[in-house]
């Protein structure tokens, strides 16, 4: 068989595994969300379906599948059906460039963990895909032909555009320091000094905070969940959706949350890199062995889960922003701060020839 066939098989297997991981992760997140919110509110949370309620997400999905799938008569039939697909496809598409661990060597092949982790515009790809996510939500808001949905969609568009600016600008600091848009190279930069702990969060603390806040806004999570704002907008862009179409929005939201957590872990907390790489090398677990790769995956996954829990924790702590407060924070605080951060970073790099 030719090399192309092997490559196709490899990528097919990787894609199947990763899509399944995304879907399972979403249900794990739903479970965590319900449990943690319950604990914060002095409740017990789901504990009936399966041991400790672990099968609750499955029951939820079954419920969503059984529900009647309504499309309002006045809605734009095509776009109303397209919007959830678009949102979910984009949310899953981002996972193509995320590196889960470095690589393993099988025979003479070097198999990287991730579908295309070495793509040289990884950072740009993720930014581009998350901004396409806005289209899905805005389209859902407009195509539903309902005022609540439209308001939610408009808010979502305005909010995402405002926060994407400061998000992108705070990212440029990372890219300047690491000198690459390739996600694996950004991780390798963080691994290669300070005992594998040259995490960019130590070099870019302000940029990290700006990025964190913006990613909350980008994923429509509280305190920036104005597009869905149940008390004022009934549910925002997903008001007119039911059954599995609503489920797809739900899934996309949780997939986006995992993406944001993964992105934070990759860019600011060293991604899959293990602390003290020499120590692991001396144990014989060199790069390319399965054990090393699994350890790296464990390192990445731990960071990912910590940030997912943090996202959930914040949601049940902080109340929602008012619309003008949201815009003030985005344009008058975060944007100037991220520009200052960018200039200071660039100046330090130039003057100290780092």
């Amino acid at each position: 068989m030719s090399d192309l066939t092997f490559t196709l098989i490899e990528f097919g297997i990787k894609a199947a595994i990763i899509i399944n991981i995304v879907l399972v992760m979403a249900s794990v997140e739903v479970y965590l969300e319900r449990k943690i919110s319950a604990w914060i509110q002095n409740r017990v949370g789901p504990n009936r379906v399966g041991p400790m309620g672990l099968l609750q997400p499955i029951a939820d999905v079954v419920k969503l599948f059984m529900k009647e799938d309504l499309v309002p008569k006045a809605a734009h039939q095509g776009f109303h059906r397209l919007a959830p697909l678009l949102t979910l496809a984009v949310a899953i598409g981002v996972y193509a460039v995320i590196p889960y661990a470095h690589y393993v060597t099988i025979g003479e092949r070097t198999v990287y963990w991730g579908i295309a982790p070495n793509i040289n515009i990884g950072v740009l790809f993720i930014l581009a895909m998350t901004s396409i996510g806005v289209y899905g939500i805005t389209l859902a808001g407009w195509a539903s032909n309902s005022k609540y949905s439209l308001l939610g969609g408009l808010r979502s568009a305005a909010q995402m555009i405002s926060y994407e600016l400061s998000m992108g600008l705070s990212l440029i600091g990372v890219v300047l320091i690491a000198g690459s848009l390739n996600l694996n190279e950004i991780i390798i930069y963080q691994r290669d000094a300070w005992f594998g702990l040259r995490w960019l969060v130590f070099l870019q603390p302000l940029g990290f905070i700006i990025f964190l806040v913006s990613s909350f806004a980008e994923t429509n999570r509280t305190p920036f969940d104005l597009p869905e704002a149940e008390p004022e907008l009934v549910g925002g862009y997903n008001t007119e959706y039911s059954g599995m179409k609503f489920g797809m929005f739900f899934l996309a939201e949780y997939a986006n949350m995992a993406t944001a957590s993964a992105f934070i872990a990759l860019l600011y907390f060293g991604g899959w890199s293990l602390p003290f790489p020499e120590f692991w090398d001396s144990l014989g677990l060199v790069e390319g062995t399965w054990t090393r790769a699994l350890l790296q995956f464990g390192s990445f996954f731990t960071k990912l889960m910590i940030f997912i829990v943090f996202f959930i924790w914040v949601r049940w702590t902080v109340p929602r922003f008012r619309y003008d407060q949201l815009m003030n924070l985005g344009w008058k605080v975060l944007l100037p701060l991220s520009i200052i951060n960018l200039f200071v970073t660039a100046a330090v790099i130039i003057f100290f020839r780092l």
């Binding site: 604990w39 914060i40 002095n42 017990v44 905070i209 924790w313 914040v314 702590t317 902080v318």
Partner: protein, 166 residues
């Protein structure tokens, strides 16, 4: 012109305006809350709540010596503000006594006011502790004598409560 003085925004200190420390404080509060024992929750179908005698649950007829205490005077039906009770009297072989041939309470109408219990001269209708009142059809919600009769022993708490406070 005084209305613009001392607004909420002006009262905030510098660090409060910076958001981050205050958010961190809030996160600390919720974190502490997360690890508190959850003793307020009752695992319902396993752990049931046992009401006290003062609880007004489903109204029932007191069963004594194999029959009802009720003498079918119809006062309860007369006083019921929701018109939930229907009584039809019948003659017994004993002198000057009657019994209810038909005694129906429509639980869809009952408002648990306990007026029937208050007005009853024989202490024959009392409020029980039954709070799990569920029906699958409106016909099922009309309770006849078979469903309403409850042995006196089971209603002891309520009867004692009535002696003390009525």
């Amino acid at each position: 012109m005084n209305n613009r003085k001392n607004t909420e925004a002006e009262r905030l200190t510098f660090w409060e305006k910076m958001y981050i420390p205050e958010i961190a404080r809030g996160l600390g509060i919720t974190l502490r809350q997360m690890f508190k024992p959850k003793d307020f929750v009752r695992q319902y179908p396993e752990q049931r709540w046992e009401p006290t005698g003062s609880f007004r649950g489903r109204p029932v007829l007191v069963e004594e010596d194999g029959g009802e205490r009720c003498v079918a005077c119809g006062l309860c039906a007369r006083v019921c503000p929701a018109l939930a009770i229907e009584v039809q009297a019948g003659e017994t072989p004993k002198d000057k006594e009657r019994y209810p041939e038909k005694f129906e309470i429509n639980m869809l109408r009952c408002i648990f006011c306990s007026y029937c219990e208050e007005v009853c001269p024989e202490e024959a209708i009392v409020m029980s502790k039954d709070y799990e009142i569920v029906y699958t059809s409106p016909q099922e919600a009309i309770l006849g004598k078979e469903e309403l009769l409850v042995p006196k022993a089971k209603l002891q708490d309520r009867l004692e409560f009535l002696r003390q406070y009525k």
